[in-house]
Amino acid sequence: MQNEFIPLLLLMLVAAVICTAMVTLSWVLGPKKNTPYKASPYECGVQPAGNANERFPIKFYLVAILFVMFDIEVVFLWSWLTVFNSPLTGLDFKIFSFMEVLVYLSTWIVGYAYVVRVGAIDWDETTSLHPEKLGQTAQEAN
């Protein structure tokens, strides 16, 4: 039972118990006098219009995809990070592996430059689209 991770699991258990207790207690202790007005979604006091589970901008989805890609590239670095400057490695290893990581990071930079160039992280909706895709050319708009 000498595992170092057991206290970590205990901490998670305690955290889960606290969280569950907080949510459950308020459900148990509070009064329950539900009315149709309370049961309707809040839309500034007027009658709610339609279902809320509707379409949302694709941008959020795109950001999530980009995050996964860039995060995985960083995850690969972590294994190297810990050994890079540890006392166990010599200068030769440091220089060699640092150059290798620069090569690896260059792929990261090319990917990043591409993502910026195509406007995938431009949050102004229209700048990421070409004017032609909006159904008109720039000259027509002028």
């Binding site: 969280c19 809040y42 959020f60 972590w78 810990t82």
Partner: protein
């Protein structure tokens, strides 16, 4: 001490359960302070905000007025004030007894789990965070009484665990937004999730810089690295990451990401009340609503602790190496030895003081800065912080390699060179961006001449 060693090694009277009992003690020593200090933190935020805005703030709750017939003559008719410290506790008790109004159309299971999922990471986050020094002065690492009680688990993954658990916070927010069946909640949840994952990247890069320099992911090892000589050659001063050039850049990135990760002003877009009511917790009432707030405050508390440990030298009160000084200056060895022991025993207090300073900084920002616009927020995360983090990452590598090859002067020369290269690159890139078509023209919007002549010349039928 002996019984603690026996307890840790499983050889004491409790046998194999010894390490688990010690683990429970560690967990309680970590969780109970959070639970008790979070109300104080809420009180401190309200009072400080009030003072900054020229108000008084909550100062009445908990005032006891003793009646004239009180048995103790000295207390009759007197008031005992607690400066309103009981206000958050009174709020909490009130919220527990409020109606838990659940809208009819919510996804009930997810709706009830979401607040718990949002609070969970705030408590679990600090599992690898040492709140005191793990080394007794003039002895080897792992000595001294604090080493038994902190961190909760001194595992090798250290910082990676902090990053992993802090990203779990996204789930609570996005689930709450999605399950509420409310358009404001949905938009708030989506915004929050996009914001959290964007700043996650830059945060990982900034922590990676310090890990790279110290050569270990264990937070105690990072603290020990910061107790070394400054820049490798100033013997009397500690090498706190914030004093090193790359560490300062990483610290700035980390602070910005930390504020964004905890959804605090000026990055509190998900709960921007003037456009999204309350964002993802619009439909939550009673304690479930407060649980989101508690999660935010507990996360502030623990993230300040991570910042203190990784960038501000952990549980050291002042950046001086007392042990080294006591051998360098034999005339004042007694004083420096005393200060070394004081530094050890005051470690938890110093750590708490650093956390309190971090939290005060959070509150100060909230009182000072206006909220960002959403595209500004995403641009800051993706186009400023992330490239800065990656550039800083390369600079740390250069610094380490050059310092080893050519000594400290080589390290500083490499920094200067990297700065010049980055500056030239930056000015060229910004220049290229300026000469290309501005975004507003690309969109086909014709700019109007802002002078009076220009405005009168515009044909209203054509605009």
């Amino acid at each position: 001490m002996d019984w603690l060693i026996a307890l840790r090694d499983g050889t004491g009277p409790l046998g194999q359960w010894g390490p688990i009992v010690l683990g429970v003690i560690r967990v309680l020593l970590f969780v109970v302070p959070i639970l008790t200090l979070v109300p104080g933190l809420i009180w401190w935020e309200r009072r400080l905000l009030s003072w900054m805005q020229d108000r008084i703030g909550p100062n009445r709750t908990g005032t006891i007025t003793f009646p004239e017939s009180f048995p103790l003559a000295g207390l009759r008719g007197k008031k005992v004030r607690t400066f309103g410290l009981l206000q958050p506790i009174a709020d909490g008790v009130k919220l527990f007894f409020k109606e838990d109004a659940t809208p009819a159309a919510v996804d009930r299971l997810v709706y009830f789990t979401a607040p718990a999922v949002a609070l969970f990471p705030a408590f679990a986050l600090g599992g690898t965070l040492p709140i005191a020094s793990l080394r007794y002065p003039f002895e080897a690492a792992g000595s001294g009484i604090f080493a038994f009680f902190t961190p909760v688990a001194n595992v090798d993954i250290g910082i990676l665990y902090v990053l992993a658990i802090s990203s779990l916070g996204v789930y609570g927010v996005v689930l709450a937004g999605y399950a509420s069946n409310n358009k404001y909640s949905l938009m708030g949840g989506l915004r929050a999730s996009a914001q959290l994952i964007s700043y996650e990247l830059a945060m990982a890069m900034s922590l990676a810089c310090v890990v790279m320099a110290s050569g270990s992911m264990k937070i105690p090892d990072i603290v020990a690295f910061q107790e070394g000589p400054l820049w490798g050659f100033v013997n009397g001063v500690q090498n706190w990451a914030i004093f090193t050039p790359y560490g300062l850049v990483a610290a700035v990135i980390f602070v910005i990401c930390m504020i964004a990760e905890t959804n605090r002003a000026p990055f509190d877009l998900p709960e921007a009340e003037n456009e999204l009511i309350a964002g993802y917790h619009t439909e939550y009432s009673s304690m479930k609503f407060a649980v989101f707030f508690m999660g935010e405050y507990a996360a502030m508390f623990v993230f300040s602790g991570v910042f203190a440990a990784v960038f501000l030298g952990g549980a050291n009160l002042m950046p001086f190496r007392w042990e080294q000084l006591s051998s360098d200056f034999p005339a004042m060895a007694g004083l420096f030895r005393g200060l070394a022991y004081a530094n050890y025993w005051l470690g938890p207090v110093a750590f708490l003081a650093k956390q309190a300073a971090g939290i005060t900084f959070f509150i100060w920002l909230r009182a000072t800065l206006p909220r960002l616009r959403y595209d500004q927020l995403m641009n800051l995360g993706w186009k400023s912080l992330l490239p800065m983090g990656v550039a800083n990452f390369i600079v740390v590598g250069l610094w380490v390699v050059c310092t080893q090859m050519f000594g400290p002067a080589g390290g500083f020369a490499s920094l200067l060179g990297a700065f010049v290269v980055l500056f030239v690159l930056y000015t060229n890139l910004v220049g290229a961006a300026k000469t290309s078509t501005p975004g507003i023209q690309k969109r086909g919007i014709k700019m109007v001449d802002p002078t009076p002549q220009g405005v009168t010349m515009v044909d209203p039928n054509k605009v």
